[in-house]
């Protein structure tokens, strides 16, 4: 007898049992059942890359309130929303960035510009200005004495200094804070005179920024007008190391996760990370800005940081990747003077010359709001596709390309031409000198001129 069997599908296995049930799906992973799998995947990757650029709308909000340019910003520790900003008009505002309201406002906190703000603890704020005072504020609506908001808010205490202050930073745990003027001074919150003066011997410079290390909290770093970067220890009361660089730095930020790593925003359009254990070369150079970098701040994850520049752009960098940052810009945003990462690493704040604090998403195409599980899965799939196909010319180009304002684009072009010309000149000079007389110097070795201790 011939054995015969004919294929038949059991409908019960492929149809829902009850109305409303999901239809059962079946899989057959045989490659012949999936023709053009690679080509279709590439199309999906291309679409994913395009979708990312389409939804890249990073701007969230602009917070108004200051009359003049913003000079400095600071985040309240252990808070996602409170950000203090000080302005050239002497005003001091604590913003609630979620509600977009003012938690505190002092219109004439200082005479002249406010140069530094930092939180002493949850409710108290320190500010310093060019009027040679450091002021301690209570930011609560109703303070401990039950006094409500009054027209002119009075500081809790005033610490008078001898010279204009440029920067202020509070100790992580102790009631100490450091100020930068011509020297670095360490103050106790309870005493009206500085408890110690820190200065590098033989230094006669203006200190522009001072910052406490976040892990080793008695270590202090400063940058000065003499193109220097100095490390102090408040226990010994001495300056320990000093590095003279080829251009001055404008901002300084300690890494929150890697205690020895420090980020410097330099006047020469680049950012540098240094390992303070070996200060002779930077660990990484970050090139992208087309004008001086005026501010920088690490993300709390320590994997990213944000920088703002004189070229009116905000850039977000990945730690260790020295090129191709994410670029944010707006028509109305002027020179960016201060930048800040939010405590949840999802947002970035920038304060600029036009007197607004702007809130940006840290990931330009991220969706705000509730994301369902299916949507999350789709986003993750798209991300992995983009990662997989990033070497495809078309997909990669869409991912890499950023449109920047024409002045920035032209400046970058000009800069490229100039650097190329300089390089060619150097090559020619070397070619026409005696062989071995001058060796090319690595870019990293050019940054530091002298290391002193």
């Amino acid at each position: 007898m011939v054995k015969i069997s004919v294929l038949q599908h059991a409908p019960s296995a492929h149809l829902p049992n009850r109305p409303g049930d999901p239809t059962p799906t079946s899989r057959n992973l045989d490659p012949l059942m999936h023709p053009f799998a690679k080509a279709r995947e590439r199309t999906r990757a291309l679409n994913a890359a395009k979708i990312e650029r389409i939804f890249a709308k990073p701007f969230v909000a602009a917070l108004e309130g200051h009359l003049e340019a913003i000079e400095t910003m600071s985040r309240r520790p252990e808070s996602l929303t409170a950000v203090a900003s000080g302005s050239w008009d002497g005003g001091l505002i604590v913003h609630d960035i979620a509600e977009r309201t003012h938690l505190m406002r002092a219109n004439e906190a200082h005479k002249g510009k406010v140069t530094g703000v930092c939180f002493a603890d949850e409710h108290r704020l320190l500010s310093c200005g060019v009027d040679r005072n450091v002021k301690l504020w209570d930011i609560r609506e109703v303070d401990e004495n039950g006094a409500g908001p009054s027209e002119s808010r009075k500081p809790l205490s005033i610490f008078p200094g001898k010279t204009a202050f440029n920067s202020i930073d509070h100790h992580r745990s102790d009631p100490l804070f450091a100020t930068a003027s011509t020297i670095v001074q360490v103050w106790d919150e309870t005493k009206s005179a500085p408890i110690s003066n820190l200065t590098f011997p033989t230094s006669i410079e203006t200190i522009s920024v001072v910052k406490f290390n976040l892990a080793e909290s008695s270590v202090l770093a400063s940058i000065g007008s003499d193109r220097t970067f100095t490390l102090y220890d408040i226990r010994t009361g001495k300056a320990e190391r000093r590095v003279v660089m080829h251009m001055r730095s404008n901002a300084l930020s300690w890494s929150p996760t890697f205690p020895t790593s420090v980020l410097l925003a330099s006047e020469d359009h680049s950012l540098y990370t240094f390992d303070v254990r070996s200060l002779n070369t930077p660990t990484q150079i970050y090139k992208g800005h087309v004008a001086a970098v005026t501010s920088c701040d690490w993300s709390p994850t320590g994997l990213e940081f944000v920088s703002g520049g004189w070229d009116r752009t905000v850039r977000i960098w990945k730690e260790g990747a020295g090129t191709r940052p994410e670029v944010y810009h707006t028509k109305r945003m002027q020179r960016v003077t201060s930048t800040l990462f939010s405590a949840d690493a999802r947002f970035v704040m920038s304060g600029s010359d036009d007197g607004n604090v702007r809130i940006w998403k840290a990931k330009a195409s991220e969706k705000l709001g509730v994301i369902t599980t299916r949507e999350r899965a789709a986003i993750e799939y798209r991300d992995s596709l983009k990662e997989k196909w990033k070497f495809d010319p078309e997909v990669g180009k869409i991912q890499r390309t950023r449109h920047v304002p024409k002045p920035v684009y032209k400046a970058a072009q000009l800069k490229r031409t100039m650097l190329e010309a300089r390089r060619v000149k150097e090559v020619r000079r070397r070619k026409h000198t005696r062989a071995g007389a001058s060796k090319p110097k690595a870019e990293r070795k050019k940054v530091v001129i002298a290391e002193q201790s």
């Binding site: 015969i4 294929l7 038949q8 599908h9 999936h34 023709p35 053009f36 080509a39 590439r42 020895t260």
Partner: protein
């Protein structure tokens, strides 16, 4: 300061202390496990960063994974090695996934030498088949000329067209009619578009597109006197060829005519597509078979297959488009290997001249000639054989209504539909259909919502027409090294535009000396001893 430096150093494992064991016997603890248990940092991190045990890969990495030892960058090397390991493991795991396939293919098995499968008639097959499967055996008696039929990709819906203009589309399983039209003019072919919601009919003068309910949506005026239609589902292209011998591709998602190729071989009546690379095969009156892609103005392959007009064409989907079958009016059927066009794999004579051909999903070849349909099964039909002997027959079925003008296998079923002058008949061919469908590609049981979703998803995944090539795998492959070089004496001349700036700025002094000019003219891919000698003398002169 020193404390900072000290602290910043990598956290070292705690100093090893000698364990004093009370039992007296000392266990050797040289394993890595024991060392790791001391490392507090690692232990604190590992809990949060490791994969959960259920997701960890248990099988050992497969053998023969490509190593990237030549790459100096450690990070890149690790990444590449990990990637290739994962890919190899995936490939190995794909085999295990076959266990999950539930449904079984049909078959006819002969016991002993004397029993032949072709002796089995349809009545026996129907008796042996289950109740559902037996429904596949059908006779549609229709007048209105010989009929052609076409199935959707999931095999659920069927479109039929008679020569005299009777068009119908229906769900053949539930026997629900979608549309029925009497077009009143000659109709030569019909095809569904992406799914059963649209279909195209090749009518007397133009191609028309109708929707599910039979409403005429478009008249494609650029397709004139079409004879055959094919729809490329992953590219959303409707291809037609006509009496004028023009092959035209129309994108059905954008409505643009993507490409028009003049075959220069006269009227064409035979067309089929390769489902695995979307290449269109055309059979011509002079016996040639040509393979076309939208991006080439000439055929990618031109093959003299028969000594008369080509009557039937088919590409085997079960081997990934490797085998093609052709039949000619000269009465031969040939099977070709598409990787090597030198001679047919096997050929045989049929009775009754031009045969219609079709391969099933599982690689059963149906040949309809004269008054019967013959089917041939897989291993015999692919194996090379000299001499024109017909391969062992699998099943045969006589149909007394000549001519038989179309044969179509139903996807995911063991059904073969033959169109003839008295209508259509469906016969059961056990073992021809793929038993396990993939719901993400084509699902016979999908509901309305799933159909809509698939339509959108397929549209998003549409492949651009210029990506059609003979080799469908080229898209993820590396660019091949160019075979032609401009090397002269093993020295490659870099084009001017690719030179570094310094070189570009260098003045070209002495470029136009007459000897150099002469040499430049001589510079070719051929090494000419005369020119080489002259070049040597030139160096001598200039040096």
């Amino acid at each position: 300061m020193d404390s900072l430096l000290a602290k910043a150093d990598a956290i070292r494992p705690a100093p090893k202390r000698r364990k004093i064991d009370k039992d007296g016997h000392h266990k050797p603890s040289g394993s890595k496990q024991a060392e790791n248990s001391h490392d507090k940092t690692l232990n604190s991190v590992a809990r949060h960063t490791a994969l959960p045990p259920s997701l960890r890969l248990t099988s050992p990495p497969p053998e023969g994974v490509k190593k990237y030892n030549h790459i100096a960058n450690k990070k890149l090397r690790t990444q590449l090695t990990r990637q290739s390991t994962l890919a190899a493991r995936q490939k190995a795991l794909l085999k295990d996934a076959e266990l999950l396939l539930t449904e079984e293919a049909g078959m006819i098995e002969a016991e002993g030498e004397l029993e032949k499968t072709w002796r089995v008639g349809q009545s026996e097959v129907v008796q042996a088949a289950g109740q559902e499967a037996a429904k596949g055996r059908k006779e549609w008696v229709l007048d209105g000329g010989p009929y052609l039929s076409r199935y959707t990709r999931n095999g659920r819906h069927m479109a039929i067209v008679g020569k005299k203009g009777h068009v119908a589309t229906f769900d053949w399983q539930t026997a629900t009619m979608h549309s029925e039209l009497q077009l009143g003019e000659t109709c030569r072919d019909i095809t569904f578009l992406h799914d059963h919601s649209h279909y195209a009919v090749a009518q007397k003068k133009y191609v028309f597109i109708y929707d599910r309910d039979g409403v005429e949506l478009h008249r494609l005026k650029s397709h004139i006197e079409p004879t055959r239609l094919e729809f490329l589902p992953y590219h959303w292209l409707l291809a037609s060829v006509g009496n004028a011998g023009w092959l035209k591709y129309q994108d059905t998602s954008t409505g643009k005519v993507v490409a028009e190729h003049r075959t220069k071989l006269g009227a064409c009546n035979t067309m089929c597509q390769n489902r695995h690379n979307a290449v269109i095969h055309l059979g011509h009156q002079n016996g040639t078979v040509t393979l076309w892609t939208p991006n080439l103005p000439h055929p990618a392959v031109r093959l003299l297959a028969h000594l008369g007009p080509v009557a039937g064409l088919g590409v085997d989907p079960s081997s990934g488009g490797r085998y093609m079958a052709t039949s000619g009016r000269d009465g031969t059927v040939k099977v070709w290997d598409c990787r090597n066009w030198k001679g047919a794999v096997r050929e045989w004579k049929t009775r009754g001249g031009g045969a219609e051909l079709e391969w099933s999903q599982k690689g059963v070849l149906a040949v309809a000639t004269g008054g019967s349909v013959n089917t041939y099964a897989k291993p015999a039909i692919h194996s090379p054989f000299t001499g024109s002997v017909q391969p062992p027959l699998y099943l045969t079925h006589p149909i007394p209504h000549r001519p038989l003008i179309s044969v179509r296998f139903c996807p995911f079923q063991d059904i073969l539909t033959i169109g003839h002058s008295a209508g259509l008949s469906s016969i059961l061919v056990p073992g021809s259909g793929e038993p396990n469908f993939d719901s993400s590609e084509a699902d016979p049981f999908e509901n309305k919502r799933a159909r809509r979703e698939r339509e959108v998803k397929n549209l998003l995944d549409k492949i651009q027409p210029d990506a059609i090539t003979l080799d469908p795998e080229f898209i993820s492959s590396l660019a091949p090294e160019p075979k032609l070089t401009t090397a002269v004496n093993d020295k490659i001349e870099v084009p001017y535009a690719q030179l570094p700036r310094l070189e570009r700025l260098r003045k070209m002094r002495g470029k136009n000396k007459s000897l150099k000019r002469y040499l430049r003219k001589q510079r070719k891919n051929v090494i000419d001893p005369k020119a080489v000698g002259l070049a040597g003398s030139c160096v001598l002169v200039s040096g």
